[in-house]
Amino acid sequence: MTDVVQVVSIGVSAALLIAVIELVRRRTLTEEYSFIWIVCASALLALSLWRNMLELAASALGVHYPPAVLLLVLTLFVVVVSLYFSVVASGQRKQIERLVEEMALLDADVRQLRDVTGHRLFVGDRAQNEDPD
């Protein structure tokens, strides 16, 4: 591996790691989701620093140009991350649906209660089937 490639890859990996840690520090990224990024950035950094391991991995895989292994790892990682986020998005979608459903049910309950009791929740509340907003 030429030195330029190594320097660039070390730089990028380190920047990624620092960026992730900084985002966590600012609470822009929650720890939960940062974990997978930190693992990835560290792995890339380790491979960039430790040339022997990269070359070992390249020869084991039958890859002639060792930096290509870095790309391979990166691609693999991107796939894993996007799958992981699909799972997260599915879970959130389900949660949102449940929330919307619960809200609709509660909304109906509140309306019914107000209709039955004629109760006003706050000043200016038009008790007749009217949403507070």
Binding site: E101, A104, D107, A108
Partner: protein, 600 residues
Amino acid sequence: MTTAPPGVSFVIPVLNGRRTLRVALDAVLAQRDGRPFEIIVVDDGSADGSLAMLQERAAAGELRLVRGPGRGTAAAINAGIREASHPIICQVDQDVIVHAGWLTCLLRSLADPEIAAAQGQYIAKPGAGFWARVMGRDLEQRYCRMGGGDVDHVCTGNTAYRATALHSVDLLDERLGYGYDNDLSYRLSRQGHRLVYSPEALSTHHWREEFGTYLRQQFGVGYGRLDVVARHPMRVRGDDVSGILMMLHGPAMLLVWLLMGIAGFAAVAGRAWLPWASAALLILGALAGERAIAGAAAWIRSRDRAALGFPVAHLARDCAWAFAILLWTARLVMRRHRGPSHSMPRRPAVVPAAAARAARGAISPGSLLVVVPAFNEASNLPRVISDVRRALPAADILIVNDGSTDDTDDLLRSLGVPWLTMSQRVGVGGAVRTGIRYAARRGYQYVVRVDGDAQHRGCDIGRLLVPVLSGHSHAALGSRFLARGSGAGLRRMSQSALAGLLTLLTRRRVTDPTSGFWLFGPRALRLLARHHPGGYAEPELVLLLSRNGLRVAEVPIRMRPRLSGRTSLTAPRAVIALARTVLALVVVPFRGTVEGEAGD
């Protein structure tokens, strides 16, 4: 003669017969000659407007209209015969136009008390299409050989029977889809009754025109014939109308297929294939030659060039028969075949209106909730509500407004029914799930799901209730296949692919998995409050319920045409639903059941 002439009852089974029905009825009415006379028309569930026409004529006193049981032609004819009050019963089909003097000729034959049935002669309509003419000329040619007098088979559709004889053999066998007339004739003969053919009694038969229907009909005829032969083994040699030569055609064609198959395999394996292929061609040539001779004879007699098409048309027919033999045998081998059965897909019995009404009456207030998921259906909702209220006053209604962008929201305040508003659009599956949760919290035992487009009729809710109230099933699905027929392209194709797939998966006949008309019983509600699938969910619902051991009954219903707005089942949606079901086919067996789980 001093005694009064015997009265005559005409029995006409009708299913979607508007094309020829009016002419056929007029022709029958023209047979009146002063003797006691009645026409009984059995409507077996027409959806093409025949029913309205019949009701009109029934109101005018021309005929008596009977609702058929919806279990096929034999059952419909039987229903008519049971209603008949005169000693002579003329059974005429909806596409048969009897000629003047038809009745007089047949009654002359029936004057001999030993004779139980007399059949007239069919003639083909002169201007009909090729396939109809082939069908007609073939039958003509066969009858022509017989001359007149005693026969061992009379067809239905063009025939006068003695009522006592029919009742002595317990009418037609309703389990047969085709060939019930052969079965009846053989049973009558065995009891010592005489059957005659009266060629002077003429009628024009409007055969089906298209090649596809011709083949399908021939498949049914072949299949029915096997059922008949299974009951009357001696009849493997045929009867006076269909002789031994004709009976040989189906098996011979099957033999041709077999030889061709062997020749193909031999050719692939590098063996000698020529002997097999030539044997096949020889048999094929013999079949075609026999038909060519019959065709030439028919041509000389009738001068109709369609008769020269016999070899081609009848080889196609033989293929249909060979296929019928294959399928019939396969079912027998697989033990799917409990005795002779229907050749055609059998429609489940329509729930009688009285039973549906009783079921609606059995619902107490506060036990049934009608959930109406609605997305931009403001123009249809008032009609849905008034329709349900009229049909089922004891039911409560809940509208689930799934993020509509029209004025549904404002409308809801004025409708006087409870409603839910989804603040984000969650799809019809989520909307129904919310409705079910609402019902579960308030202690309802049954939930009906009706679409917001007013296509589902409130009175059909009773039909859905029947199987669930009786404990026969846990949920019921309204299937509109009775009123169907004009499905378009991709959407219809994926719908039927879906139905086939789900039938395979659930091992129950599913015909309309995309229907939005459902009734859920208590056990289904407990499951669905948590696990009702989201999105465009109907097909998965069938699968989910059956995987969890809940029985789903399909009930035939009719739908109103959509009055305004657009359907949500677009072609892409239908394809996506199909894809999702295919995925479920792979995934669901590994997923196990969900009932009783804490949730996901």
